[in-house]
Amino acid sequence: MLKMENGRKILVTPIAADDLQDIHIGDIIYLDGDLTTCRDVAHRRVVEEGRGMPVDVRHKAILHAGPIIRTNDDGSYEMVSVGPTTSMRMEKFEYGFVKKTGVRLIAGKGGMKGNTERACREFGCIFCVFPAGNAVVAAASVEKIVEAQ
């Protein structure tokens, strides 16, 4: 769902392909909902090894990042720090990844190339940049960690 609040475009998961129609290059958008961190190994696992993701990201969002998570005494998790890594490393897997998982939003750092662009057009997905180096702002934006593995 795409909602507007105080002039801000906010995407709420699950995201439909139509929700992306009003989003344009250069827009600042906010995300509210489920976000799964996922880097080289997860991409490889889905695309090269043909295995599924342990978390269903269909119509949801992924972040190219490796977070630092602390397990509290009561078994709950706390986000210590998280931030995007160079997305270009995932470029060669992204077409197959989007096709297979049905993810709608990819957040990362830097830029992507043709493979990702093609996937975005064909399957309805967008690539966004989270300003890197802001690990504490990112950690502070996490409401709850559902699962850590």
């Binding site: 931030g83 160079t86 300003p131 802001n134 690990a135 702002v137 502070a140």
Partner: protein, 301 residues
């Protein structure tokens, strides 16, 4: 104070200072980011700068490293030939890194090459990296600390040019690197350029260039001119903060140079990201310290 007590004090002070630099950027970087922020008018770069400053505030408030990548630890040590702990310096730097890694905490960024396992302590074969200079007739020890992140190390490149390519060749080399890789290194960037003979002389100069304060200039007039021209040239690529477009994408261009063999010009480029975690601490023979990069540092030990 006994030698052992001095070693312990210096280790503790360094560990605390290293952890501190992961959380707070040096004064010159903050000042430059503020200056660049004030010049941006579009909403996108403005939001990015606001996020950066909020992040730096939160990092201090929550006592956490400001960027998740706390880099590979590198030190440039300018040790006085009469500094009393010369024997112990390499070991104590290693200890300080292990301690800072636990206490900050810093991300584990030391992977043993070929064996490909992470030591989990930020130390390993030849790591932390130490660049040594011996300063004659001095009993002080000056240490530049640096966290070399993955994203900002990636654009690093060195090449030996034929002299016929001249300084135009240097400019072309630097601009090619910046247009290809600048985006992923988290601009606005500090660009360090080294000029020398072979690749490692140029590369070492380029790292030392990154330790020079932002806004300082090479004392050679031509080199200083090239710094300014390259700064304009790279800004004109238009990357802006985080590569999202904007008026400026560099915090500065610093060139360090040494003489060269007449048949070659060695050139290297090395990049520091907006989160340029450089520190500079000077110890006297009694391990009293002075920090020049960050005002208001009061170590607890």
């Amino acid at each position: 104070m006994t030698n052992d007590a001095k070693v312990k004090l210096m280790t503790d002070r360094l560990a605390e200072f290293i952890a501190y630099t992961a959380k707070k950027l040096p004064d010159d970087v903050i000042g430059k980011l503020r200056e660049l922020q004030a010049q941006e008018t579009d909403p996108l770069p403005k939001v990015i700068y606001e996020t950066m400053f909020r992040n730096q505030e939160l990092a201090v408030q929550w006592d956490r490293p400001s960027c998740q990548d706390t880099g590979a630890l590198q030190f440039w040590v300018r040790a006085g030939a009469h500094f009393p702990l010369l024997d112990d310096l390499a070991d104590l730097l290693r200890e300080a890194v292990i301690k800072a890694t636990q206490e900050a905490p810093l991300r584990h960024n030391a992977v043993e090459t070929f064996d490909e396992y992470n030591t989990g302590k930020n130390v390993g074969k030849g790591v932390p990296t130490i660049f040594w200079d011996i300063v004659p007739r001095s009993d002080r020890c000056e240490i530049y600390t640096y966290m070399s992140g993955g994203g900002c190390s990636l654009p690093g490149h060195a090449k030996v040019l034929m002299p016929g390519e001249g300084y135009e060749g240097v400019v072309r080399f630097v601009m090619d690197q910046m247009t290809t890789y600048g985006l992923n290194a988290c601009p606005p960037l500090l660009v360090g350029i080294g000029i020398g003979t072979s690749v490692e002389t140029a590369a070492l100069n380029s790292k030392k260039a990154l330790m020079r304060p932002i806004g300082s200039h090479n004392d050679n007039a031509n080199a200083a001119k090239l710094e300014r021209l390259l700064e304009d040239g790279i800004n004109n690529i238009g990357l802006g903060p985080q590569g999202m477009g904007g008026k400026h994408c560099v915090m500065g261009v610093n060139i360090e140079n040494t003489a060269r063999h007449p048949s070659v010009i060695g050139v290297a480029v090395n990049v520091g990201c907006w989160s340029h975690r450089r520190g500079h601490i000077i110890f006297d023979k009694d391990i009293n310290y002075t920090v020049t990069t960050h005002t208001g540092v009061a170590l607890s030990c």
